[in-house]
Symmetry: none
Subunit: 400 residues, 2 copies
């Protein structure tokens, strides 16, 4: 689906859409022969499934395990291979840093090096966020002629590094060698346009190392994911939607902001807290993206039982979501994170699409194998949004 | 599927293909929980389904509700986004008007305006076809230097307007504002090549208004869908088929002609009459497109029961079609028109593919949910024709 076609058929409507994304929801069978989602007791999701169209989505393409960026872009309706979001950009947006077109952002880690300058810990023993803040104050004293430098605490050992200035490219190699026992790497420019940025970044690292010399375990920094703000058309522009994001974790708010969604404040960290925000802002937006992180975290930890539990906690809260009577409800994931693999995987993700205008499959179960039998079939994730818009009666006929 | 590949594997054969298109067949569940097609008593289609491969087709793309043009292009094997057919061209072809490369055609409506020139009825109270013919005689007296003008009655308030001449582009805005209480709009050229055509069209409208001044309710005209004949490769060229169209309604004969199909005369308006034509010309063609309009009309009227009835009438006649022993039978639709929505919709259409060489799904029901379980899966409509040709043993192996 190209956006040109979509823009030509989008029409205004009063309908409201909720897209609930359970991060890393897709799983693999455990010893009981069932996946985490199939194991979980989910009476509300199952009842909703019976009144929905079900299917399986490939977030990027069959066989491809997506990162959070491309995974979300796919279910948000964008071609993940066309729009790349660098890690640095995601991190910066996630802490509400306002990136400009002149910025190159990178994800920074405090790290430990020995006397010979070899890495001993790529995360500096996961120092506290408080210590991080103190060290960031120190790094902010670094001045480099011709550019503005920003350093912002994220959490624990993580910070955001931003260079702002004319003529900064982002075709840069990373300093993190991804293993210990070796020194950090220098930043190299991969094209002529990025030479100035490479020089600035290397100067910054050199000065940071001097300033942090006596701050072990945080006596070094690593920079990766150098990236500029990508030009991505917004939800308003492409889909005609006033979109809001309800997400607790910075990266997901960051992705949403990139697409022009307004990020709403959540008082707390649970799905119940997110629903309170949803209820509060219900009349102010057309599209709500709700993000649940803990399904993915449990999968990454290889904790099958905890992933089941998180899914059941979400299910228990579904009546609050349903009580708002959204015109369209989507429940899906940005990628699979099977406990068996302890990582993002390539497996397609289950999807449930409900509206008054679906040909319900009548399959009273929300699970991977149930979804494989659904009428949506197996689709690219980016094909979902046009169907969501159609079900929200926000698309008019194409052609005579 | 690109045509380049297809052209290289097409081989001649003696087989015959029937593609039965029930316009707007796809539906949505009514109060009984079943769609129109699922509700209809269709013993012959059900029996054929049991011996067929079933699936769901997206005529253009998931979520997109197609007009009749793109809907038909898809099931006919063409990329609907690549070949656009303007409304004016469809209307002209539908009345057997022979368009040339120098023509720009538009759909015309007789309309009513008040003394201030504001539209009061965009269809002139649906005047009789007879009155239309008289008024068209009047409009034919309009002469504009440098171009030839053609005006042809279609039906009731509708006519075709054609400008023929050198240097006429079709990037033109419409005069129909799509609502009443406002004046008709002037035609504007959207590119330099279309300026002459815009001038001619505006002159024609101005003169038409004077000529029709005392002909209320038909005292004005509206023009829309300005278009030139698109360059579309023919069925003979792409598929190696001698193709015939059996359709009662002008627009569908028009689409078929655009693809080089020969349109056959039908004595009457029913499906039974179309079958009489099919029987008569059975030995003269390789491919027959049969079109049934009334499924769509009933859907557009929101008449669930009538749509069920039309489907049952078609089913009752199926033995005549089967008696001809086509090598390949396809039953499908150009788009869905659920009675619930009273309009074309985005829902994928059911498809049934029968030949001696199918892996029959053994599902003895032709319905949307039954097709969702079929082995064709969910496909783009344009992927159907290569499978139809293969089943007709009209494609040879690709590659060594």
């Amino acid at each position: 689906m190209d956006f040109h076609l979509l823009k030509n058929v989008v029409v205004p409507a009063q309908t409201r859409i909720v897209m609930l994304v359970l991060d890393g929801l897709g799983g693999l069978p455990g010893p009981n022969g069932k996946t985490e989602l199939e194991t979980a007791h989910t009476p509300h999701l199952d009842a909703l499934a019976a009144r929905s169209e079900l299917g399986l989505l490939d977030p990027v393409a069959p066989g491809i395990a997506p990162g959070s960026g491309p995974g979300h872009l796919g279910i948000f309706g964008y071609a993940p291979l066309q729009y790349e979001i660098g890690r640095g950009v995601l991190e910066a947006l996630g802490i509400d840093f306002e990136l400009t077109a002149k910025d190159v952002a990178a994800r920074g880690n405090f790290a430990s090096v020995d006397a010979a300058g070899l890495l001993t810990d790529r995360r500096a023993g996961r120092i506290s966020t408080e210590t991080n803040r103190e060290l960031v104050q120190l790094l902010r004293t670094i001045k480099i002629p011709g550019v503005e430098i920003f350093v912002e605490t994220v959490k624990e050992h993580r910070f955001v590094f931003v260079m702002r200035g004319a003529g900064l490219g982002d075709a840069l190699t990373e300093t993190d060698p991804q293993r210990i026992g070796v020194p950090p790497l220098p930043v190299k420019a991969l094209d002529a346009k990025s030479r100035k940025a490479a020089r600035v970044a290397n100067q910054f690292v050199a000065q940071a190392r001097q300033l942090l010399a006596d701050k072990h375990p945080a006596n070094m920094i690593l920079l990766r994911g150098f990236a500029k703000h990508p030009a991505i058309p917004s939800y308003a522009e492409v889909f005609g939607l006033r979109a809001a994001a309800i997400a607790v974790y910075p990266m997901y708010r960051g992705i949403a902001k990139l697409l022009g969604m307004q990020t709403l404040p959540v008082d707390g960290e649970t799905f119940a807290d997110e629903l309170t925000t949803l209820e509060k802002y219900w009349n102010d937006f057309d599209f709500f993206y709700l993000h649940v992180k803990k399904t993915d975290s449990a999968g990454e930890d290889g904790d099958f039982a905890r992933k089941v539990q998180v899914i059941e906690q979400v299910d228990a809260q579904m009546p609050r979501l349903l009580a708002l009577k959204p015109d369209v409800i989507v429940v899906t994931a940005d990628h699979s994170t099977p406990s068996l693999l302890k990582s993002h995987s390539w497996h397609p993700v289950p999807v449930l699409l409900h509206s008054p205008f679906v040909r319900a499959d009548g399959i009273a179960e929300f699970g991977e194998r149930a979804c494989a039998r659904g009428s949506l079939g197996r689709m690219r994730a980016q094909e979902l949004m046009p169907m969501v818009l159609a079900n929200a009666q926000r698309l008019t006929k194409f052609g005579a």
